[in-house]
Symmetry: C2
Subunit: 426 residues, 2 copies
Amino acid sequence: MTSQPHHIVVVGGGFAGLWATRALDDPSVRITLIDRRNHHLFQPLLYQVATAGLSAPDIAAPLRHILDAQHNVEVRLAEVTDLHPQQREVELGDGTRVRYDTLLLAAGATHAYFGNDHWAPFAPGLKTLDDAVRLRRKMLLAFERAEMETDPAKRDAWLNFAIVGAGPTGVELAGTLAEIARHTLKDEFRHIDPRKARVRLIEAGPRVLPSFPQDLTDKARAQLEKLGVEVVTGTPVSDINAEGYRLGEHFIAAKTVVWAAGVAASPLARALGVPLDRAGRVLVQPDLSVPGHPEIFVGGDLASVQQDGKPVPGVAPAAKQMGKHIARAIKARLAGKPTTPFRYQDFGNLATIGRMAAIVHLGKLKFSGPLAWWFWLAAHVYFLIGFRNRFVVLVNWAMAYISYQRAARIIFGDAHDERKPGGDTR
Amino acid sequence: MTSQPHHIVVVGGGFAGLWATRALDDPSVRITLIDRRNHHLFQPLLYQVATAGLSAPDIAAPLRHILDAQHNVEVRLAEVTDLHPQQREVELGDGTRVRYDTLLLAAGATHAYFGNDHWAPFAPGLKTLDDAVRLRRKMLLAFERAEMETDPAKRDAWLNFAIVGAGPTGVELAGTLAEIARHTLKDEFRHIDPRKARVRLIEAGPRVLPSFPQDLTDKARAQLEKLGVEVVTGTPVSDINAEGYRLGEHFIAAKTVVWAAGVAASPLARALGVPLDRAGRVLVQPDLSVPGHPEIFVGGDLASVQQDGKPVPGVAPAAKQMGKHIARAIKARLAGKPTTPFRYQDFGNLATIGRMAAIVHLGKLKFSGPLAWWFWLAAHVYFLIGFRNRFVVLVNWAMAYISYQRAARIIFGDAHDERKPGGDTR
């Protein structure tokens, strides 16, 4: 062939984008991977950074480094702000356009307040490393403020924590925060008893971790309560402001509210001009291409895929599988062969709750407690990219486990300025 | 005794403040340790965080955790903004005052631009973890910008790095940055060759690392040049702006200029109303107390101490020794005994330059190169507080050494916004 290699633009270096890119290590295609961050993030452990168990670099690796040996890939650190499907171009933040032959849109999701965007400044969510460091700062500073406060009502407000949403992230945050209050911080203050901190997990739906069967959900709730979390289900939060939140008839004074109640697809999906589902995700074809645009694929959290009457979940294994499927579909197209429909292979569902507490659902196998926790730990450490990360994460966890200490309890920014660093309201 | 315990206020949880506090583990005194950060920082390794070799939490430990078992200590996260020596009170950022019987002022130093404060936005310095994360971001983003730039002159400006000041921090930053450009990043870009980055170390004085003897200084310079650093001595930088810097007659286009040329004492020293030296440090009595105020001691970088006609250097061992001396002096006073003069015990002087490059001066013993580097590494890892930190740092370094990779190459904040996070100009 003397023609130019086929140019694939991949938007997003998460699990879907990165796995597709790696599977396309072939000199007949040229790939431009565009991400607005310089790193691939191991999102399943992001809550550990937010709760000071891990450092940010422990769960992230530079995209350039991951891909340095794959010579058909160019990594660009830039934000894609618009798509022009008719011209086959993506538009970057600085106005430049990049032309593609094939596009993989894997820009992921962000947390969403479902029409209550004014809650965002008071109830930050957790999607990026910046979010995690900001959340860590907010949680740790709350104990510091409580220690300085002499008014008992205000002190209680600083020691009142609420996590809104009992999906995996909400459960992890609540369980770990309870552990920090009860164990990590217990001897460190002179005026407050951190064990009296109230950690509340609030879910509008009827139960925690609704993607699990009822019996495991019940076990998860029992484990949360044993760790000291107060679980409230069936009640939506109806308002959040700087002083606290409203739950049914009651306004609860709480200085730390965390949003884990929902995600919405990247707004980029709208630029495709095709039907989206209620969460803004693209209703893709069976082969994950976009209706009317066989040259555009969508993967990861941005793709809405139904399988056997149920949605494919927004988890890392599904995103990786989509990425690999899309790579195969692109190769099939280039070879003039038909594409096959995507099928999600569900290897099981795990959720961690806190120290020695987790639930595992693998086909007919269901278990919970310490064994589930070890299983979860092993699986997650194994899947972290790169040997160094795996090993250091293991060491950090082993030390945290033995000592009850959390290594990353660093508050960035000055103590007197609550809005640093990057203290905006994203 | 039925009287109230003697109340000691310690301002600053650096080496002087923390070592004094630990040496005063005695129920007859009550200590309030005030710091505006929640952590003790192992400052000698701060440049490793700036150059992405270590995570911020690797070199910092929460003050509350370090001191949790010392029951006569209360840690307060607050900024001391003023002193009232006549009333024996310190004033906090929120206006509250804390009364002391004895005060230890150990608020340290900050980087100083010597009348050129308008250079600060273009040439950030390195004193805190926030500084280090910001510097890391600035350096890594420069390579990203160069990769995106199509104009060759602008591209060169992004690949031009200048470190102003060839003291220990400047030398460490220059040597490590050269290593990153030549080894860590070498295969990761498609449009630039990071090895062509120009790393210049600029010193107004006649030689690098002037606290070392001439022969070791010469060896340090040779090692820097071998690592790829261009060393310029005897020439001060006469201007710095967003486009570059002026050196003698020439203006050099350089997007990344780092300030390592000088420190000034905390402005709190002025509130004492006693004579200061040219760098703003307190000219203390031989026992490290303040003239006219036997109840106030000054330690660490804030104290100006002459010994045998030379100033005691602003290094961690000196600060620790001062802290311990002040603890002894306070105990002597409480027992009605005279205090003794402080004597700095110089155990030697080490400086690291880069991979396998360092110089060591221990009394009559002088050596350089790989052996000096291993010696430096062992000493610094040994002195890091706490087992966990030591071990993880060792692992990180071992991995970095084997792989040439740097684990903490994470750019926080959005790619399109150069001013986040905490992107102010401190």
